[in-house]
């Protein structure tokens, strides 16, 4: 007689099937994300959305398109800040910008832009450095909701103190309050900050390269992927970067174990800023 698997293992089967269903039905591909975190969030989703099992959640998301955005809200992590890790933005300003200045026009890709915090940080930095008008910013994410938030550029006022502090620590040359209007508990960032921004739905898992970039900033996205998937995304960055273009990752992400590490050199090692080798 065959052994019946223990209950935990059934949950693992359900998770695998749910992720497969999401892919086949909607082309959202979470199958190679880091599973420990996915599992945690699927458990949360099951509980909070009121399903007895992950299989029941799967049935619902297959048949009810309204359930998809709700589930995606659990599966994608939208934690962000403006000028998050100020020393990263300081390194961009002091060490990357002098190189970027030498180009007559610039393309910058913010991959996994979430609600726009990282995007606006870079646009403000580029404006302070006099580069904004020659730059196109591509802000991409798989979450429609995140892209809508990013396009609106409205944040609750309780977050602004942190953003202001981060901006100052990053070596900001202006006052953050120059860029937003505060009213009714919200800060609305100036629409002129968006004049050179293209927002677009793009997945680092299933989509391809879309242009030649001088800087790709992709922070705190790769940690949610398993190693092979991290490598796929890094390959995309490699192919989209111009010769001597820059790649900035999150504080805890690196190219150390990547199959593509030979195509990059450390540019600001402590800040995980790399430069595409010129071949």
């Amino acid at each position: 007689m065959k052994e019946i698997p223990a209950p935990e293992k059934i949950e693992d089967i359900e998770i695998r099937l749910l992720l497969e269903a999401l892919y086949v039905r909607y082309h959202y591909d979470f199958r190679n994300y880091a599973m420990a975190s996915i599992k945690r969030r699927l458990r949360q989703a099951r509980e909070q959305l009121g399903f007895a099992t992950i299989s029941a959640l799967q049935e619902s998301v297959l048949h009810d398109t309204q359930m998809l955005p709700r589930l995606l809200g659990y599966l994608t992590i939208q934690v962000s800040e403006m000028f998050r890790d100020p020393s990263y933005f300081q390194a961009i300003r002091e060490q990357v910008v002098p190189h970027l200045r030498t180009y007559p026009s610039l393309k910058i890709w913010i991959a996994g832009c979430s609600g726009g915090e990282e995007l606006y940080s870079l646009v403000i930095l580029f404006r302070e450095e006099g580069l904004e008008s020659r730059t196109i910013f591509y802000a991409t994410d798989i979450s429609q909701e995140a892209l809508r938030t990013a396009e609106a550029g409205v944040y609750t006022l309780d977050r602004i103190q942190l953003f202001t502090e981060n901006h100052r620590k990053s070596g900001g040359k202006s006052s953050l309050s120059d860029y937003y209007n505060a009213a009714y508990g919200r800060a609305s960032f100036d629409k002129t900050l968006r004049q050179n921004v293209v927002f677009s739905d793009h997945s680092l898992v299933t989509d391809a390269v879309f242009g030649e970039m001088h800087l790709v900033s992709c922070r705190n996205v790769l940690i949610y992927f398993d190693r092979p998937l991290q490598d796929r995304a890094i390959g995309l960055f490699k192919h989209s970067l111009a010769r001597k273009g820059f790649l900035g990752l999150g504080a805890k992400e690196s190219l150390r174990f990547s199959a593509h590490s030979g195509s990059f050199k450390d540019f600001v090692r402590e800040e995980k800023i790399y430069q595409r080798a010129g071949e």
């Binding site: 945690r40 940690i223 690196s254």
Partner: protein, 188 residues
């Protein structure tokens, strides 16, 4: 206490953590061959020197964990500031910046729950001193997965709230002094 050989140890500590860990980690011999994965509540916006401090005193390796790092025996891994630390089924570590849990990132519950999934009955989980409730529901997950739960004697802890909460949630946990925990670890 454990049936079959233990495969890994997870530890959670908060207020008073450095003192308690300075008793435990340096006392382990260089031959200690289980991995130890540790969450201590630390400020999110400062570099942490915990791993360096404890490495200086310890014979086992002590590191701050890197994302997707394979877990090795004889090594203590610390969660970095402002990231959750999770164990993957393939016995590697993942970091995550998802929401703080009970105001903490890193969260002991998040580590313990993922380690319980990965190691099941092969896991030993230890809740040390602390002034909050983190770790209690994680310890419950460890027990439910067949692992061994150990809690520092609340009266002897620098802060008793965290061990107390863990005991309330897991009445079957073994309650031990730091010395008893050490002799237990020497025998696993």
């Amino acid at each position: 206490m454990t049936e079959g050989r233990a495969q890994a140890i997870v530890i959670g500590a908060s207020a008073g953590a450095l003192e308690a860990l300075s008793v435990v980690l340096p006392a382990l011999p260089a031959t200690f061959d289980l991995p130890i994965i540790v969450v201590v509540h630390i400020p999110p916006d400062k570099r942490s020197f915990l791993a360096e401090l404890l490495q200086a005193k310890s014979k086992i390796r002590v590191l701050e964990a890197d994302d997707k790092e394979p877990i090795c025996g004889g090594t203590a891994y610390f969660a970095p500031p402002n990231y959750h630390l999770l164990v993957e089924a393939n016995k590697s570590l993942s970091l995550s910046s998802e929401e703080a849990v009970l105001f903490s990132r890193p969260s002991i519950d998040v580590l313990f729950e993922s380690a319980a999934d990965a190691y099941g009955a092969g896991l030993i989980a230890i809740v040390l001193t602390g002034a909050n409730q983190d770790g209690a529901s994680g310890l419950r997950a460890v027990v439910n997965a067949g692992g061994t739960a150990i809690v520092q004697t609340p009266k002897a802890a620098f802060a008793s709230a965290m061990p107390e909460a863990a005991i309330t949630m897991c009445p079957t946990a073994h309650i031990m002094s730091l010395d008893a925990i050490l002799s237990f670890l020497h025998e696993v």
